[in-house]
Symmetry: C2
């Protein structure tokens, strides 16, 4: 087993191998791009003002048998659903439920999958009318990407969330990218309420945008969700309860003592530093990169997160 | 544990829950879209002429300790690398190597990660000049998507592979989508040759297009690669040899007796059926969907694959 020195996609040490002459004559090596700052460089050079702490009133800790997933909620985009999910959390509704679905290149889903014999709810709502879009004026921040998008007239970031908007209809919505968290529903647009939630674990399914209520995104724990064994029942559901992953508890960070909270920060997506992150990804410098993409897709825009003191 | 009836993103049975009146007054339910054929409907209605068998001369079976991954090679887009990988397979180079890297929302990678003490090669080349693009005229088929793309002037499908081209420079290339297989390299554009290969396991990293040699795609076994535990060393490499996943063998289908080959078919991407697949995904009908996306991203275009007789 060989692993002492890693040949990688991005490692700076080149293999010094002579070109076979037959190829060298016919294929011209691309010209070298000048080096420029990377996303890591931008993060390193950032100042405290470029970051915001996660709001404990909008942060969920989901503790499962496999570990913790941390979710940031986006109340501006789904006020009633976020309030309802927090009400479900307050009555410890999710505790003892499970991750019931993992479909490859699609979603992991958790909550109560039992329609016939649903888990009782004390105070929260079981279902709500969908909040698929909100009035643009309700969204306090939007930093538009200059890059084109096929799914929406305008895309960019709102307070750390990938989002889109349509000035013609005056509506805005969160987009489905990797780690986006949404509310499972049935056929009716009013058939979801938060008793089942999903996170995107593959290629961004942007065709779900404006068709389902999005409530936030996973800021820590994606590897846990993305590596779940795929379910073998239709749509990636687990075919027996034994295969599901128990949820021990879901708690609001604000409901925990300060010393039990994870101190996390998210780069402000309305900062100059974040513009530099986007540009570092949009047009990467040499020497590894030979070509600049000249474009960044909304769902390829990294939103840096860090744990304070780590 | 509740799992007898599945509440899902797409299941047709609606929960019959009365609308809370306070919401009903302020939020209007979206109008229902007429039903139309789904991707599954198109596949069901397809005829044998809409499918092609996998070419055994361009099909690799990689058998690992966790199961099999089947890869279709694309010789038109990387003729020298595909020939070299087949030469490596012929001399059983990959047998006994391992999957050495799994980075979340990025790639799984396998082969020889040891630069200092590389596994000897008998007849194949260790490195080749990169085949990042090829002349457009070398590509025998291109069915263009009508949808816009931020990364390339034209995108579409060539013989079952997502691809792009630029008429101005006269070049074509395979694009990085979920399941795309490429050739790991170091800084030099001539530093890869196939001793390390990777597959995309997350959001499509289209900014790698034209910067690395792409040789094909995984047509079976993505769940195996996508659920690998993420490596904890830099860039998702496993931090000890014990964590890597041994490769038992990699074989060319054509080198196996007929009864040991998996009979698979891929939908022809130049067929009318495939246009119907694209349209079913681009503009989904009701009743579940309330809004049509009106767009399909190249990497959201499913390329149907089926095992014959299953």
């Amino acid at each position: 087993m060989r692993l002492n020195h890693l040949t990688t996609l991005t490692l700076a040490a080149a293999i010094s191998a002579a070109l076979p002459a037959a190829y060298a004559a016919t294929i011209r090596a691309p010209a070298e791009l000048p080096a420029k700052q990377t996303v890591a460089d931008v993060i390193k050079a950032s100042t405290p003002a470029d970051w915001r702490p996660l709001d404990p009133q909008q942060t969920l800790y989901m503790d499962t048998a496999l570990g913790r997933v941390i979710i940031e909620l986006a109340p501006e985009f789904a006020p009633k659903h976020v309030a309802n999910i927090k009400a479900l959390v307050a009555e410890q509704y999710y505790d003892g439920l499970a991750i019931t679905r993992a479909q490859d290149n699609w979603v992991a889903q958790w909550g109560d999958a039992d329609e016939k014999n649903p888990k009782p709810i004390k105070h929260a709502q079981r279902t709500l009318p969908g909040e698929f879009t909100v009035p643009m004026k309700n969204v306090t921040s939007f930093t538009r990407l200059k890059d084109i998008d096929g799914y929406a007239p305008q895309v960019g970031h709102s307070n750390g969330f990938a989002s889109a908007r349509d000035p013609k209809s005056g509506t805005a919505w969160l987009t489905h990218c990797y780690a986006t968290v949404g509310v499972g529903r049935d056929v009716g647009s009013d058939s979801g309420g938060g008793t089942e939630l999903y996170a995107v674990i593959g290629q961004s399914p942007r065709h779900l945008d404006r068709d389902i209520t999005v409530v936030g995104r996973v800021v820590s724990g994606m590897p846990l969700l993305a590596t779940l064994p795929r379910g073998t029942a239709p749509m990636g559901f687990y075919d027996s309860p034994e295969k599901t992953v128990p949820i021990k508890s879901v708690r609001l960070a604000a409901d925990l003592p300060l010393d039990q909270r994870v101190q996390m920060e998210v780069m402000r997506t309305d900062s100059a530093a974040y513009q530099a992150v986007l540009e570092a990804q949009r047009n990467r410098g040499g020497p590894w990169s030979k070509v600049q993409a000249g474009h960044i897709d909304l769902c390829n825009a990294p939103i840096p997160v860090r744990e304070v003191g780590k």
